[in-house]
Structure formats: C-alpha cells, structure tokens
C-alpha cells in the first residue's frame, strides 16, 4: 500500500441546505420546492432502508452487470512510456455508459414515491437511453427532452430510446442542446409535478440532485478503489475523468476524496480551443466562466457580462453544457481536485489511439479523459499509476467521428 494518509478536508458536503461551500443550493420556482422536499425525504429514507439497498444492489449485479471490470491498458502504457494506466470500464455497463447507475437508482426512488411518470433530459443520449431503460424495466412512463441539434448528431440513441418505449421530444428553443432540454424538462416537471419525477442525469440541478446523483454514481469509485488494491496492490497516484455536468467524475472521485495525495483531475471540453470562445470549459476561461446560477444550482457557469448563459460547443454532446456540478466547483476551490480541458482535436486523437492500442472504442466524452492521460503519463515514473474513468463506449459517436476524420480512420 502507498503512503495514503487520511485528510480532514473536505468536510462532509453538502450541508442541510444543499451547499458545497458557497456552491449548490436550491434555486427553483416555488411550485417545485415541495417536490424537492419530498425527494430529499424519499432519498434519505430509501438509503436507510435495507430492502431498497438490497434491491438496488441486486439490479446492479444482475441487470447492469456490476462490478464493471478494471482493465490494465498495457499497450497504451507501454506506448506512452510512463505511468501505468488502468481503465474503469463503465463502457461495459448495460446501455454502454455510467448513466445507468443513476437512472436505476432514481427510477427505483420514483417508484417508491408512487410517481409513475418520468421526465428526463439528454445531451448525448446516454442518459436518455439509461432513463428509458430503467423505465422499461420498472414499467414507468418515460418522456425524454432532447435538443434538436443533439438529436441530429446522436441518431442511434434517439432510435434506442424509442425502441425502449420512451417518447423523445425535440427541443427547438435556445441553442437546441442540453441546456435547453433541461429547461423543457423542468417546465414539464413544474406542470406535472404531482404525478411526475424528474430524472436528472448529472450531478447538477437543485439540492438534492447533486448529492443523490453522486451517491448513485459513487459505486464507480468504490469498485475501482477495491479493484486497484486487488489488481495492482495499491491505489493510483492520479484519477482522471471527463467533466460535463460531472456525474462520472464525482462518481469515481468520491471514493478517493480522503486519499491524500491522490490527484483528482477533471477534464472539461475545450472544443476549438479556449481562445476561440467555442468550448464548454467552465473553469478554463475566467472571462466567461464565473460563479452564477443555472438550473437550480450555484456553480461555475459560462455567461456573458450581462449574466446571459453562453452557448457552448464541443464535439462531444455529453460535455456540451454551460454549468458544472457544484461539488466540482467546491473541490476545485479546496484544491482537492484540479480541472483542465482537452480540445476536440485532442479528444479525437485519443479516441483513435485507444481504439488502435487497446481495442476499445471510447465515447467522445471519455476520450477527453484519455487525452489528458496521454498528456500526463509520459512524464510520470513507470511505477506510478493513472486510473481513468472510461465512462462510456463510442458506438453512438461513429457518425460524428467519421465526419470529423473525413472518412479516414
């Protein structure tokens, strides 16, 4: 075992009002406040109920396929010539991404609350597919809001959701991407709150969503920590994950939060580069990425000087969002986690590298984490370890990648 001392910071977050330091909270129309109160109560009682936890764990094992493997990326490690690289294979979870962990947890919670109508938003479509899957499994009605721009670039996932019995509702307002899909999902929820649960897909939104999503995703880090000890005999030196809203990142970071000095690295979408303004890197651009309130939570938000939310850009639909989960803003402030970005080009190059060296087609989102790994590993000693959260598989991205690479693999 390495020399991993327990640290006293960060303290247990969030507090009772849903704050992670100065980030988080609950900024929603009054109509939704009672529903959030009900959700907090249901979540707390479920997490203390052995029957709920047993059913959840049973579905994770027999339906999702957990634990997902930890793969030693031997050829990639040799190629880079530095740190040994391990991949946490959330791409092998049912539906092809980590999103199913949260979708199943929340769908079970909705069932427990007697809410049989589910609304969800989706960007890349992975959360929408996971929500549609969980609803099919539990016999719940599912409506997924998706920006029409995202529908065009993620066609296979639209069909998958429809096959699973969900209604996919195109969103034509604003930038017609994830941000606008969340607006529409919230409007639906406000209107139908008595019968409907909003199955939010990332570690953002009003309290208790960031907490609930973290808890449902924390299985990633709990498993990976155990697997590292079993397979490598020690914990990693560095943990790397991509950060859109930040659910896969918080899911793997959480188990390592008290393991100082493990570096926790979040990778945002650098799009065409920070200077171009065409990106979704909330922490990388102080001119536009500032604390603000979007979709019910206070965090870092890409905005103009007047507080209007900026349109974002990334080749990866799942990272193409203007705000980041509040706990990431807090971890960054504490310097417990560090955040960087990878551009479209770097992510596409990493995508190809992982395909060729490991026989794994990663999601474009996850390729951002791989890109950062490729930058860091060569400078690290051979006996050091990087753990990468491979949050999803890339089948859904083939059209995008073919277009980006001009048909040349």
């Amino acid at each position: 075992m390495g020399n991993h001392r327990q640290v006293t910071e960060p303290v247990s977050v969030p507090d009772a009002r849903g704050y992670y330091g100065e980030y988080g909270g609950r900024f929603v129309p009054e109509t939704l406040v009672p529903a959030l109160d009900e959700l907090i109560e249901a979540f707390e009682s479920a997490m203390a109920d052995p029957a709920f936890l047993t059913r959840f764990a049973d579905l994770q094992a027999t339906y999702t396929g957990r634990p997902t493997p930890l793969t030693y990326a031997r050829r990639l490690s040799d190629h880079l010539g530095g740190a040994r690289i391990y991949l946490k294979r959330e791409d092998l979870a049912h539906t092809g991404a980590h999103k199913i962990n949260n979708a199943l947890g929340q769908a079970l919670l909705a069932e427990r609350m007697g809410k049989r109508r589910i609304v969800a938003e989706t960007g890349a479509g992975q959360h929408g597919v996971a929500a549609a899957t969980a609803c099919a499994l539990l016999g719940l009605e599912c409506h997924v809001y998706m920006g029409s721009v995202d529908m065009a670039r993620q066609r296979p996932n639209v069909f998958r959701m429809q096959l699973l019995g969900a209604e996919v509702i195109p969103v034509e307002s604003g930038s017609r991407t994830l941000k606008d899909a969340i607006n529409e999902a919230i409007r639906d929820w406000v209107t139908n709150v008595d019968t409907t649960h909003y199955l939010l897909g990332s570690a953002l939104g009003p309290h208790p969503y960031p907490l609930m999503v973290r808890e449902f995703q924390s299985v990633i880090g709990i498993e990976a920590r155990q697997q590292m000890i079993e397979q490598a005999g020690r914990l990693p030196d560095t943990v790397i994950a991509c950060v859109g809203g930040g659910s896969n990142a918080i899911g793997i970071f959480h188990a390592f939060r008290d393991d100082d000095p493990i570096d926790l690295i979040g990778v945002e979408a650098g799009g065409c580069g920070i200077g171009s303004g065409e990106h979704a890197a909330r922490f990388a651009d102080p001119a536009t990425g500032r604390p603000g309130v979007l979709h019910g939570t206070r965090s870092y938000v890409l905005q103009d000087a007047d507080g209007q939310i900026r349109n974002t850009y990334s080749v990866s639909a799942g990272l193409d969002y203007a705000a980041v989960g509040p706990e990431h803003a807090y971890l960054r402030q504490l310097e417990r986690a560090f955040y960087t970005y990878a551009t479209d080009d770097e992510a596409l190059s990493a995508f190809q590298t992982l395909c060729q060296l490991e026989g794994i087609i990663p999601a474009l989102e996850s390729a951002h984490a791989v890109a950062e790994t490729i930058k860091r590993a060569p400078a690290m000693p051979r006996d050091s370890i990087i753990l990468v959260n491979l949050s999803g598989r890339g089948d859904k991205d083939l059209d995008t990648v073919i277009a980006q690479l001009g048909g040349q693999a």
Binding site: R26, V28, P29, E30, V33, D194, G292, V293, D306, Q308
Partner: protein
C-alpha cells in the same frame, strides 16, 4: 399622484393596494418585457397600458433560460435579447417611463443570474434610482431570498415571493414572513401562459393562504380574459396578466391597449 411622493417602493405598492381596495376591486398589473417587439415599442406599449388604467407593472428583464415561462414569453424575451436588451437597458426603460409620466408602481421581473452578474446591491440601488418599486425573481425561493432581499431592503425595494398550489402550510408561513410588497400567488402548477379556464380549486387555495397572512395577494399565471379577471377580482388584492398581453403585442400597440383596457374595465362590473 406622482411617483416621487413615496419614500420607498413598499409605500408605493401599499398605496396602490389601498386605492384599489377603496374602489372595491383588485389591482391590475400587466407584465410586459423590455425590448419586445423592439425597445421603443415596448416602452410605448407600457405607457399605453398605463393610460388604459393599469395599476402597476411587472417589467420583464429578459434571460436566456427562462424556465418558469411558457412559449409566448420565451419567444418574446428571446427577441428582446436579440434586440440587445441588457439589465442596464431595462433600468433605462424604467427611468424613461418615469420621465414620460408613468406613475404606477413598477416591479422588475427577472431571473436570478443576470441580477447576480450586475451585483445585487448595485442592481437594487440602480433600480430604485431609476424609479422601480420592487423586484420579482421566479427562481429565488424564500430560503435563498437574502441574496437579493438584503439589497432590496437597503434601497427601499419590495421583493415579492411566490406561493403555488403545491405550497403547504409551512411554505405559506415562510413566504408570508419573507415576502415584501405582496405575495405572488401562482394560480396553477405550471409555467406562464394563457389557459382557457382557471383551476377549479382556486377559491380554496386563496382561502387557505388568506387564513395564514394578511399581506396582499397578487394572482398570476393563466389569466388572459376579462371574464377571468371578473372571477378573480373579489378573491385577491391584485392580478397579473402576461402572456396574453405579450401575444397581443405581436399585433401591435392597439391590440395590447385594447386588451388591457378590457381587463381593467372588467373590474368595475
């Protein structure tokens, strides 16, 4: 009555409710966003509604992500943003309306993020100095209200708070304690927008709130026709009409003025 007669926005709003009550009716507060269809036309429309008998105004500050609004107000505020309307421009609009002699209370209605970006204290100071009387922030529940509320209190602005049909007795008590100026009562669970009928449980909901507070109640969401105005007139201290007026704004200033006049006239029946 000149606007400057009142030391604070709270006084101006209290006087508005007193006058309406003395006339045996509810106050009529139209909503209209600055910058739709254009900046100049929005000011002309608000001025015309003032002349048509509006008792006060909710002046819409556009936001890129108006998640409590239905399609009509979403589209109008999007146009306003494309027309270059900023928070500062909305403050200019209030000042300009005052200089044109619009004396009714004005509340700025906007989402939280642009107000935070401006700075709550700077915003409250500038709003009061421009002639505004209050602020309405739909994504600011009472637990978080001090973010903007402290600045509003320092500068004599009201900060309303919302109640919805989903609010239980505990929420009513909290909102009644925190709201200043009036309580904005949302008639339905949903977003802004005209509905063909008011919800059946409305009287019971209002009675439930009345039993817990004597602050003025202003009803909003879903009121679009004179017939609906007649029904809510005896129930509440005021009511807001938004989407229906904004929709009329698509057909020009005369349509808005005529609808506003008919809504106002319905209160004297």
């Amino acid at each position: 009555m000149n606007h400057t007669t009142y030391a604070t926005g709270l006084d101006a709003l209290a006087a508005m409710f007193t006058r309406a009550k003395a006339a045996g009716r509810a106050a009529f507060l139209p909503y209209f966003p600055v910058g739709f269809p254009t900046y100049d036309e929005s000011l002309d429309i608000i001025e015309a509604m003032a002349a048509a008998g509006a008792d006060g105004f909710e002046i819409g500050v556009p936001f890129s992500d108006p998640l409590a609004d239905g399609p009509i107000i979403q589209a109008a505020t999007q146009v306003a943003l494309e027309n270059g309307v900023t928070v500062q421009r909305c403050l200019d609009a209030v000042r300009e309306l005052r200089s044109r002699g619009v004396h009714q209370p004005m509340l700025l209605m906007g989402y939280l993020n642009p107000l935070l970006a401006y700075g709550p204290d700077a915003f409250a100071e500038a709003a009061r100095s421009a002639g505004a009387d209050g602020v309405i922030v739909p994504d600011l529940p009472p637990e978080e209200a001090s973010l903007v509320g402290d600045a509003c209190a320092r500068h004599g602005l009201a900060l309303t708070a919302f109640l919805a049909p989903t609010s239980n007795a505990q929420r009513v008590a909290l909102v009644a304690e925190r709201a200043t100026g009036f309580i904005y009562v949302v008639s339905v669970t949903g977003v802004t927008g005209a509905r063909s009928a008011l919800p059946p449980g409305l009287e019971d909901f209002i009675a439930r709130v009345r039993a817990q507070t004597d602050k003025p109640l202003v009803l909003g969401f879903g009121i679009s026709q004179p017939e609906q105005a007649r029904r809510v007139n005896p129930l509440v201290d005021g009511f807001i009409v938004g989407s229906a007026l904004v929709k009329a704004g698509q057909s020009g200033i005369h349509s808005v003025r005529d609808l506003a006049a008919s809504l106002r006239a319905a209160l004297d029946d």
